[in-house]
């Protein structure tokens, strides 16, 4: 599977519809995989495409503590995958390992054509520039304008001297288009800190889109928002996944949100993959093992 991912053309747009050209070469392995685990791929259309993220047998350890143990994950173009699990189950670590922020002890991680376990010099920054990230605390630069915050998404590959006013007008046009898309264009000149939480997260999403990402990772993007805003932000992410054909991996700890706003759910518990399947075939009962080990622990103690 890793070799197939490596053949994937590196240009961004061609990644969206590689199926036609690559079908003959890819068909055996894809079919094989679908047979093995049908639950992993949501639609026939997506099944034809090659995964942009391929994780096999991933182990991550900080010192003696093993945080992830044997995780497999594929992300296909255009799908929104919810990553579920209790606190400390390894959701954030899995996200971090995809962009080289976590120490990978074993296994293979391929993201957008990069072998994350074996990056050559300078490749790390290129990889990160191709992966859009959205954070729980939005992580905008509070005193800079909304517009500048979006523009920072294009920092990689910007000229050697690039003072705050130095982005090209093409960049600026695109930043404004993205702000239109996320519905915050009227605030373009306002300092980021003056926006509400939901608005800030939309700006952060525009910043991620400014990177022209091949993959979007959202680590608890709605944990700081109220339920209504949470739904609208998740819908925005799902819309981006569908329209742009970008896989979106979003970690959540609220079950109903995951069931309502994802194509596929991957559940982690104690660093191991416990659940993986299409959202439409899962319900709260099927996902409860992700959280209910707590009672068992208590019973053991008393």
């Amino acid at each position: 599977m890793t070799s197939v991912a490596a053949e994937r053309p590196s240009s961004r747009r061609s990644a969206l519809r590689p199926a036609a050209g690559k079908a003959s070469a890819a068909t055996p392995s894809v079919a094989e995989r679908v047979q093995r685990d049908e639950g992993r791929t949501p639609t026939a259309e997506v099944r034809q495409a090659l995964p942009l993220v391929t994780v096999r047998g991933l182990q991550v350890a900080y010192g003696e503590t093993t945080v992830l143990d044997g995780v497999d994950l594929d992300l296909f173009p255009g799908e929104m995958v919810a990553l579920l699990g209790a606190s400390g189950s390894g959701k954030s670590t899995l996200m971090r390992s995809l962009t080289g922020f976590a120490p990978i002890a074993a296994g293979s991680v391929r993201v957008a054509g990069h072998d994350v376990t074996n990056l050559v010099r300078g490749e790390l920054r290129t990889l990160r520039s191709e992966v859009g990230q959205v954070f729980q605390q939005f992580n905008l630069i509070p005193r800079l304008s909304v517009m500048t915050n979006v523009l920072t998404g294009a920092l990689h590959g910007a000229g050697p001297i690039n003072l705050a006013g130095g982005f090209s007008s093409a960049h600026r046009r695109r930043a404004l288009e993205l702000l239109d898309r996320v519905g915050i264009a009227h605030k373009a000149s306002a300092p980021a800190r003056s926006l509400s939480g939901g608005q800030q997260q939309r700006v952060a999403i525009a910043r991620a889109l400014m990177q022209q990402p091949k993959v979007i990772l959202a680590d608890e993007p709605v944990a700081s928002l109220d339920p209504k805003l949470a739904g609208s932000v998740l819908e925005l992410l799902r819309e981006i996944a569908t329209q742009d054909g970008i896989p979106v991996l979003v970690s959540l700890h609220v079950l109903p949100l995951a069931l309502a706003h994802s194509d596929r759910i991957v559940g982690l518990r104690h660093g191991e993959m416990l659940v993986s399947g299409m959202t439409s075939r899962l319900d709260a009962a099927a996902l409860s093992p992700l959280y209910n080990d707590e009672e068992q622990d208590d019973d053991d103690d008393h």
Binding site: S87, Q133, T152, Y291
Partner: protein
């Protein structure tokens, strides 16, 4: 459990509150902690010991009050006959402070990057901190003497002394301002694949900017006052005139100089307070 949204807590591992500790926290009257009972006398002893060592004497202060009054009375009335000289020198002092502050702030910022633990590698961080400590320990007057012997009498030597001195003081404060920025934007900039310079430019500096500006204004105020002292060793500014007036027992002139300095320092203080309000 199916719809529970609250984060999981490890009830099994949560330690209970000790019974004695619970009683202590509930009680309205608190017996002071042992560390407080021991610490208080030590602090008082340290204070008394220091007063003695510094030869602080209330009786002498009372006796001296009369002499002090006499000295102050000699300062009146101020003699503004040489106001032209005073204003010219005051202007020079101001200009020295402007140049010294700009050079000092720029150099301090550059050095501060090396002294910021979150940005600099260890091999750079520790030497930079040591150098800063050494510079801070040496009085500005000593630097002024050094530069006077190097480039001769005049404001240039004073400016150099100010610039070097500010690296020790303001450089350390700059570094601490940059260490205290919120990590979030820094992480975000690393995540978009920004270079180290870009991370500093977008993730660190915009967040630290209000503090950096505020400290630079403080440095400027300090440099205006400092420039009056540097004149003592002939490093330009109004200090030399001040010393001369003192030596010549020209108290009218002396008080005129002091009044002018007070006016300038107050004006600068008000001005920088205004700027500080705007930026924060």
């Amino acid at each position: 459990m199916t719809t529970t949204t609250e984060p999981r807590t490890d009830r099994s591992t949560r330690p209970g509150l000790d019974v004695a500790e619970r009683a202590r926290l509930e009680s309205a009257f608190r017996v002071p902690r042992t560390r407080f009972l021991i610490g208080l006398p030590i602090a008082v002893l340290l204070l008394i010991w220091s007063f003695n060592g510094a030869q602080f004497n209330f009786v002498k202060l009372g006796e001296g009050a009369i002499n002090m009054g006499e000295f102050l009375s000699r300062l009146f009335p101020p003699d503004f006959s040489k106001i032209g000289t005073i204003l010219a020198l005051l202007l020079e002092t101001f200009q020295m402070a402007v140049v010294g502050t700009v050079l000092g702030a720029v150099l301090s910022l550059i050095v501060a990057f090396g002294a910021t633990s979150t940005l600099a590698p260890k091999w750079l961080y520790y030497p930079t901190r040591w150098v800063m400590n050494i510079i801070r320990s040496v009085p500005d007057l000593v630097f002024a003497l050094m530069f006077v012997s190097a480039v001769g009498l005049g404001p240039f030597a004073g400016i150099l002394a100010m610039t070097l001195g500010s690296i020790g003081s303001i450089g350390k404060i700059f570094a601490e301002a940059m260490e205290q920025v919120d990590r979030g934007p820094v992480v975000a900039m690393e995540a978009v694949g920004a270079s180290k310079r870009q991370v500093i430019q977008y993730g660190v500096l915009p967040q630290a900017a209000p503090l950096l500006t505020s400290y630079t204004l403080l440095l400027f105020e300090g440099n205006v006052r400092g420039a009056t002292i540097l004149g003592l060793v002939g490093a330009g500014g109004i200090g030399l005139e001040l010393t001369t007036a003192m030596r010549m027992y020209d108290y009218g002139h002396l008080s005129a100089i002091i009044i002018c300095i007070i006016v300038l320092v107050t004006a600068i203080d008000q001005g920088s307070a205004l700027i500080r309000r705007r930026i924060t």
